[in-house]
């Protein structure tokens, strides 16, 4: 099965193209504001590496977060439009699962971290298994100090991966049984692998059912506080 995979959940964006056996094209770019410019030329590059054209793609896979929304939405819109244009099904993957899967070695409980900005991170625990990882709790959006408390309460050894460099160094001081490791960001290459597995289990969906994982309500600011919403006339 020919798959296109797109990831824009973090400052790194990546595109991968491949089939069940191998990655045929991969392109990565680290630029927090560069997602929109990068994606389609990267897809074009990967397709030409594989010697395929857009209509050869049979499944479009995308990272649906958690991650900062603006970049995330451009990746999802790009993936949805591509799938809709050629009539292909889609597969969705979580950014945290993607990072955890790449880190899966040893016995430690894996905690991938995604920077959600404004002093918050998304985290979730995973248990390593032979050939993969299993989620071991729900993803949460927390402050670094809350995450520190979560790790302190752990009875087992932990491995923190993902964008742990985005939190203050003080988060790590005094922690026992906690190691930090790679990778820092998710990669479309891993999404390709997860999507192929999902497709084998029939876990695909239509582009209309794909949406971002927000985990946070939109900020709302009303600019004209001085105005009285009840109006001048008695109701």
């Amino acid at each position: 099965m020919k798959i296109l995979a797109i990831d824009t959940a973090t400052p790194a964006s990546s595109v991968a193209i491949g089939d069940d056996d191998a990655v045929r094209g991969l392109s990565v770019n680290v630029d927090r504001r560069g997602h929109v410019k990068f994606l389609v030329p990267a897809i074009d590059f990967c397709l030409s590496q594989a010697g395929w054209n857009s209509r050869d793609i049979e499944l479009v896979a995308v990272d649906v977060g958690p991650g900062p929304y603006t970049g995330l939405r451009s990746g999802i819109a790009t993936a949805q439009a591509f799938a809709a244009a050629i009539g292909a099904p889609m597969a969705t993957v979580s950014s945290l699962t993607t990072i955890a899967l790449r880190a899966a070695t040893g016995h430690r409980r894996i905690w991938p971290v995604v920077d959600m900005r404004r002093g918050q991170i998304a985290v979730a625990p995973f248990t390593p298994l032979p050939g993969g990882v299993a989620p071991d709790g729900d993803p949460e959006v927390v402050r670094p100090e809350d995450f520190k408390a979560m790790l302190e309460a752990e009875a087992v050894e932990s491995l923190v991966v993902g964008d742990w460099q985005s939190v203050p160094d003080s988060t790590w001081t005094g922690l026992q049984n906690v190691k930090r490791g790679m990778p820092r960001y998710p990669s479309a290459e891993t999404i390709l692998e997860i999507a192929a597995m999902k497709a084998r289990h029939g876990k695909t969906l239509g582009p209309e059912d794909v949406r971002p994982t927000y985990m946070r309500d939109p900020d709302v600011q009303i600019n004209w506080k001085a105005f009285r919403s009840e109006g001048a006339w008695p109701q």
Binding site: V36, D44, S54, R73, A77, Q80, A81, E230, W233
Partner: protein, 337 residues
């Protein structure tokens, strides 16, 4: 009538618009309005808007193509707004349109939202051609543009503070009329006396510029005083008077531009041009001066995908190739900067 078939996307603010046009004939135009989402905040909230665009754009694309009675392969080109507007909202439409065009193997045309408004009357009137003076007024923009030729624009003036639609929104909110304010005040002014209260008309000395903050202050002061003295007039009189003050300024500045440029064609676009009193007053004034007035139906004045597609049709017919796929949105885009 025929011409290229263009799929147009518009997501610069709070409406997701997708349309299919063939030449200058609209084959379908669909819209997901976010009025209800934003109404509870009394204005457009960028993150709320971007979330709604991502929900709406795929089903609307399907709907626009189906209603047009075409297959995606029949599309000759894809057009999309690349600015000005809210970054997060623009990025959804731009990413979607770019990828859709690429996957179909069709050219992509990035369009200035304001140029879309300048072109919109072409979808209703064959006689609408430059040179023209066009008044653009909405919640996000208010300007008077001298369209010398297609692609050759001079912005003669614009708002120095609130956009006209924003002034309507804020005043309607203070009056307890809800959001969006333009349609609310338009409705509420039915039967009201536009001359009941004389609110100030600002910047009389600057021929093409607007300012609405003085009006806002004056209405607020007036209402507070009237309420304190228990002398509140009929609400419809206040609505009609506010509307008249805004309309007066828009009409006066538009025809100042008509006079100084000597054009015989006047166009209009933006949500405020759906206001009934403004349309009536512009028509009276155009009639009196014997110039042609081309204000399309309200659905083409407010943001929509067809106006964006119509700019691409013009470029295609002029032999302009599509954009590179490595382009980006430009939230601060300006007509002929």
């Amino acid at each position: 009538m025929s011409g290229p078939i263009v799929l147009g996307f518009e997501t610069s603010c709070d409406e997701t618009g997708v349309a299919v046009i063939e030449g200058l004939v609209e084959r379908s135009s669909v819209l997901a309005s976010q009025v209800e989402e934003h109404a509870r905040f009394g204005g457009v909230v960028p993150e709320v808007a971007a979330r709604a665009h991502v929900e709406a754009i795929r089903p609307l694309t399907h709907q626009a193509i189906t209603l047009a009675g075409i297959h995606p392969n029949d599309i000759d080109a894809v057009a999309v707004t690349r600015g000005p507007g809210l970054t997060g909202s623009l990025m959804v439409g731009f990413s979607f349109a770019k990828s859709f065009a690429y996957a179909l193997g069709k050219p992509l045309y990035g369009v200035d939202h304001m140029e879309g408004h300048l072109f919109a009357p072409r979808l209703s009137f064959e006689a609408y051609e430059p040179p023209a003076v066009v008044i653009l007024a909405s919640g996000g923009h208010s300007q008077i543009v001298h369209v010398k030729a297609w692609g050759e624009y001079e912005v003669l003036g614009g708002t120095i503070d609130d956009a006209a639609g924003e002034a309507f929104d804020k005043l309607a909110r203070f009056m307890g009329l809800g959001f969006p304010g333009g349609p609310a005040i338009d409705r509420d002014s039915d039967g009201g006396d536009p001359d009941a209260i004389r609110f100030p008309r600002a910047l009389r000395d600057r021929p093409y510029d607007f300012s609405f903050s003085g009006l806002k202050t004056s209405v607020v002061t007036y209402l507070e005083k009237a309420r304190d003295n228990d002398e509140l007039p009929a609400r419809s009189d206040v609505s009609a008077s506010i509307q008249e003050a805004i309309v007066d300024v828009l009409v006066e500045k538009t025809f100042n531009a008509v006079e100084s440029t000597g054009v015989e064609v006047v166009g209009g676009g933006g949500g405020v041009l759906a206001n009934r009193r403004l349309r009536e007053r512009l028509a009276e004034e155009a009639d009196r001066r014997g110039v042609g007035l081309f204000i399309p139906e309200p659905g083409l004045c407010t943001d929509n995908g067809a106006m964006i597609a119509s700019v691409a049709v013009h470029r295609i017919e002029g032999g302009v190739p599509g954009d590179e796929f490595g382009g980006d949105v430009d939230p601060g885009l300006r007509l002929n900067p």
